[in-house]
Symmetry: C2
Subunit: 344 residues, 2 copies
């Protein structure tokens, strides 16, 4: 099946490049509101499901036990930009659970925000695992694991070792939460290894969208997970800087729309979102894996089409669904723009 | 028309993302050797035609008059990484023509090589126009313009001002060279503004491939342009670091294959190449504009299929047509691989 063109990059008066993809909008019972392209092919959701993977952190009682704040819970759901406040927040999460950054098994990379990387380099420092965009998610895993170890009477650091492996007790909890939310038997799903070394499972867009409808409404989740979902949505809406960072799409959108839209980007052109007031979940995957410019524009177009908006919020999403491109001299050279793929 | 899938990104045992595109392989008379997808849609070749835009620099006598070296001519064809040697070389080109970096109108950006950016930041400096990946091309334009000014008895810096505009005498020379090489009437072509502010014209892949067959053989070019093309190909083969930079595809391929393959990447997923011994030119455009990972892999697959190769060179191109992906912990997580799109 050829997926439809969702986003076009214009230069001058011509389409220079274009991005195909698939979109599913589904309610908590699985009723399909919108289906474009192949929504049944298993795709790796990557970081777009971090909020589902954070459910056990809250439902287990670990978040409450360690006294995690809104910012810290938001960061457990985050792909952050490695800015100083992100680094400090991941470190604080670990410290609350009696752990050090040595517990993190996500690997190291330079901050994804260019200015943060240059500031780090200018200060003569190198990055560590706290700068990894997944350090908040991993700190959340470690907080969960430290609580599991405490309950079982084990020493936390030793218990945690190898928590990124599929069969580790911590990762089994996380995978079970993902399995329940998506209603997918993950033992039979395609499995890959994510950038931060945890498993990622191939799940159809249709099931991902349904999972986020559940995440946004609590319907179809256990009472514990429904409460955890609500807590995480509130936390991200209260501290949206921590789910992404300076100038980033998720941060900007949730700063503006708060709990009306929970959205989360994933590598390789994935977006998942919940629209609680409509009872809907959204999942998008670009064929070509383009995250930075294609799937964000598509996500903005979906949100604009589905949510009832006042003029100001409509204009805000217009600005994200159609982005002016400038060159190194600041000249306007073109546009990124969503096609009219969502029925009005 | 749906263009075929040229490159797939695998994760675990599944295709995670994929890239469609079109490919034209044509000889100097316009006979099509290979045509995949829509090769008649005008596409913006961007930086892939820098070598054609450098023809007047040589054919005018400017390169000889200013004593430009192989490295400097290679850099006139380059999208370089902004490394210190690139910066020094662009500055030297300007100095030979009696100009300063103030002449450059390409705009400024941080070096495209991460380590070069971090070293610059660590030294407390900011980039200038010499760090722009196009500074060598623009220095070449300025060397041409300074020579034109000299011939006309004008002051160079004043003559050059505004050289990036379509109607400036320098840009008219460059556009005329592109028009002749591609056999395309550019006044009727879609026109956009490139990242460095010069015009870029929509040209079908079929015509771009023919232009590079001409560039590789001299057939169909004026004697002056045929000699200039040969000089530029020799220069790039002699100094391939200057056409790209550390670890970059064009540099690696031409370090290995020398004058057997002239290839040049362009923004938004474009490649152009000349295979002089076969009398063929190649032009590729990825639908989604993915340069970094998709079009390079496709280019390697085309070169591997067309060129007679010994085992070592075949293995070298195999390594570029199928690239292992590792994550932040160094674990192998997948592959980028060309599909079997070129008939064996």
């Amino acid at each position: 099946m050829n997926n439809p063109i969702l986003v076009q990059a214009w230069r001058g008066g011509a389409v220079e490049s274009f991005h195909r993809g698939a979109v599913a909008v589904v309610d908590a019972r699985g009723a399909v509101r919108l289906s474009l392209g192949d929504v049944d092919r298993p795709i790796f959701p990557r970081s777009a499901v971090k909020a589902l993977q954070a459910l056990p952190l809250v439902s287990s009682g670990a978040a409450e036990r360690w006294g995690l704040t809104d910012a810290e819970l938001a960061q457990a759901c985050a792909s952050h930009s490695g800015e100083p406040l992100h680094v400090a927040t991941s470190a604080a999460m670990l410290a609350k659970a009696g752990l050090t950054p040595d517990a993190l098994e996500c690997g190291t990379h330079w901050p994804s925000l260019d200015t943060a990387t240059r500031a780090l380099a200018a200060s003569g420092q190198s990055p560590n695992a706290l700068h990894n965009n997944c350090s908040g998610k991993h700190a959340g895993f470690c907080c969960l694991g430290a609580w599991m170890a405490r309950v079982q009477g084990q020493e936390a650091a030793g218990f945690l070792r190898g928590y990124i492996e599929p069969e580790h007790p911590v990762m089994r909890e996380i995978t079970a939460a993902l399995e329940t939310a998506t209603g997918t038997r993950l033992a039979d799903a395609p499995r890959g290894t994510d950038g931060c070394s945890i498993p990622t499972f191939g799940i159809p867009l249709r099931a991902l969208a349904q999972a986020f409808a559940r995440f946004g409404t609590g319907q179809g989740l256990s009472p514990e997970h429904a409460r955890a979902a609500q807590r995480l949505r509130q936390a991200v809406a209260a501290a949206p800087f921590h789910v992404a960072g300076t100038g980033r799409f998720d941060t900007r959108v949730m700063e503006r729309l708060g709990e009306r839209l929970f959205c989360k980007v994933g590598a390789e052109g994935v977006y998942c979102a919940a629209l609680p007031e409509l009872g809907l979940g959204v999942a998008i995957k670009m064929d070509d894996g383009n995250t930075a410019r294609a799937v964000e524009v598509a996500m903005a177009a979906v949100a604009r089409a589905l949510l009832p908006l006042d003029d100001a919020d409509h204009a805000f999403l217009d600005g994200l669904a159609s982005v002016t491109l400038k060159n190194w001299n600041g000249r306007e050279v073109g546009q990124l723009a969503a096609t009219d793929f969502v029925p009005g």
